[in-house]
């Protein structure tokens, strides 16, 4: 994790948000509390906040994303920041010189926060070492997606009142999922019992060492769970490389009412989006507002990102430039 360079006594002493791993429980609670406050603000009544007026947030996306980028953009705008979106086409041909060069170029523009998404694990950390502003990891490879972990946690807390002691199942492509990793780190740190459910080909090696229980049978894994988090499965992984077919995957690992019946009767269903309806989740179930918190997750996403932008720029705003 990030090292603490700024001598700030705030509840979050790190210059960046690169991942959940390494954050203490109190730091996580601090971020969630801050986010909860933003979640309670009604954007229509309170209008734009001017907290970040005159500050620049750059969304630097090396990978396609509409939802996360929009969410960060909205969060920054609600705080009054100037927002610039940069999409950089990334291919293996271009390699990482582009990454360092881009970092140099951006540093010269003096942004206050960089939100970075990148297809390679560790790339956001590498970039954070080369720039002079706060960096938020908007998702790096199969490593972490910390704001997603935070928004999922906030959603659960608002629905179920707590995290500690809950039994939470994360299902799907655990191997390639940064959402799964951030959630595992966050939820285990907060005292939840975490289970991961995946076909063996999509289960990372020695995942138990992250403090979770692993299941290949979905019904078994879902037994008595309070929360069921589904993950998106990339289509290119369903054509024989990891999973033989979409229909076989849905049959054994797609969430439908019958499988969900193994969880607790009122278990909450979540999905980071975008959903593949009929692949990892039954369409009608996804739309059931009593069971599904999917819409709320999107709402909490904006609140969490406002909180992160706020917290990371506090040292700056109080005159302590790094």
């Amino acid at each position: 994790m990030t090292s603490s360079k700024t001598p700030v006594q705030s509840g979050y002493p790190h210059p960046h948000l690169l991942g959940i791993e390494g954050l203490s429980r109190s730091e996580i609670v601090f971020l969630l509390d801050e986010a909860a406050e933003y979640a309670d603000l009604d954007p229509h009544r309170h209008g734009r906040n001017a907290l970040l007026a005159g500050h620049t947030v750059i969304n630097l996306f090396f990978e396609n994303s509409t939802r996360t980028r929009t969410s960060f953009e909205l969060a920054a705008k609600r705080l009054g920041a100037d927002v610039i979106n940069m999409s950089v086409a990334w291919s293996s041909i271009k390699k990482g010189e582009t990454l360092i060069d881009t970092a140099m170029t951006l540093t010269a523009m003096h942004p206050d926060v960089l939100v970075v998404r990148h297809p390679d694990s560790g790339a956001v950390k590498l970039l954070s070492e080369k720039v002079e502003c706060a960096v938020i990891n908007g998702g790096d490879g199969a490593h972490e997606h910390p704001t997603q972990g935070l928004l999922d946690a906030l959603t659960i807390i608002r629905r179920l009142g707590r995290l500690e002691g809950l039994r939470i199942a994360i299902c799907g492509d655990i191997l390639h999922s940064r959402v799964a990793r951030s959630n595992i780190h966050l939820l285990t740190a907060m005292g939840a019992q975490v289970r991961v459910i995946a076909p063996p080909t999509l289960m990372p090696g020695r995942v138990e060492e992250l403090g979770v229980e692993a299941f290949t049978d979905m019904r078994e894994g879902l037994a008595d769970c309070d929360v069921v988090m589904m993950l998106r499965l990339q289509t290119e992984r369903m054509q024989g490389s990891y999973v033989p077919s979409i229909r076989e995957y849905f049959h054994f690992y797609g969430l439908d009412r019958e499988k969900l019946a193994h969880a607790k009767p009122d278990a909450l269903v979540m999905h980071p989006g975008p959903m593949n309806r009929g692949v990892e989740i039954d369409s009608e179930l996804a739309d059931d507002i009593d069971r599904s918190a999917i819409r709320e997750q999107v709402e909490m996403g904006v609140a969490v990102r406002m909180a992160c932008l706020d917290v990371l720029t506090r040292p700056l705003r109080s005159g302590r430039r790094r």
Partner: protein, 437 residues
Amino acid sequence: MQKPPGRPAAPGRVAYLNARLLDPASGLDAPGALLSEGGEIADLGPGLFKDGVPEGVETIDCRGACLAPGLVDMRVQLRDPGEEHKETISSASRAAAIGGVTSMVALPNTDPIVDDVAGVEFVARRAREEKSVKVYTYGTVTRRLEGQELTEMGLLTAYGALGFTDGLKAVANAQVMRRALAYSRAFDTVILQHPEEPSLAGGAMNSGALATRLGLSGIPVQAEVMMVERDLRLVEMTGGRYHVSHVSTAAALEAIRAAKKRGLPVTCDTAPHYFTLNENAVGDYRTFAKVSPPLRSEADRAAVAEALADGTIDAIASDHAPQDQDAKRLPFALAEPGIVGLETLLALSLAPVHAGRMGLLELLACLTSRPAGILRGRSGLRKGWPADLVVFDLEKPGRIDPDRFASKSKNAPYEGHMIQGQVLRTVVDGRPIFVAA
């Protein structure tokens, strides 16, 4: 074309006094002196110069330091020709001299590839021009490193190729490997394999909990042992001499140990990073710790150290792999593998000796006589043999500082690493090519 300069005039007579003579080949470990005359060892022994050194002999007082055959580094990437911004034969030779290496063998994975006689001759000519460390090369097993057609092993051997390897690529096709092993017998040469089943080796680091946490794709230990076990069947079938390069796993070592017991003509080497570091060195995406094969678990590291101590591992090679910043300052999965190792080869290799796990002679054998034996070369303190020598202080402590490396590239994950042992003087054919300040 300019005539390549020959070696300089032969040096005169040099006496090395007050040395701890160490010769792994003969088992000699005694205080004494050595005399070189011209490029050769003229005499040595505990009683030599007991009555003083005759007139006209240059004397070097070793002050009790160790005097051993110069190191033979059987696995070095020179990057020359083709990637001279990373290393050249000249800069690698300086690094080798500082490291106590008097002979090194280059991998043929340069650009152009050393898969024909011209490539072997190029390396030989450049080495002659340097007049420093002895530089040899391997040829590739297959043309253009494509894994299909065999190179002219006989002609390449005649021109000086010391063995055959496809470098960082395994010879994946079993039929091609079978023919390479069989054909090589006609020329008593050796096939060196990069032990990795390619279809399992697409990852960025060792498989395991750390790879899972970092979200990096893993390379399982099975990728190594599978290739070794397959090859051992082919060795059994063909009788070809087989050498496993940079072994990193307990499983592969077990297979090699068993094969040796069965009398198969198999040898292997490892590099210092496989017994001094484990996968935790990767830490937070530290690309300087990215190597191929990857750094493994602590259990595997310990097994490599064990196999070194029990003699299963024949040689320690630096696996010198220079990479510049552009190749390393990348997201981990995209960074090039490799550690530069020529300058730290001896000091890092001495760790098991200082830890009391290995005798000094046994360790030096892995750096001198045993690799030389595999390559049919000569390495030893013996009258009439080349005066290729290293003088080193076994105890002197120090700290590794990659910024001070003579190598053009500084990619070593050993910054600040404490070491014990320092090279004081390196001698090739009786001439000093490095003298410590």
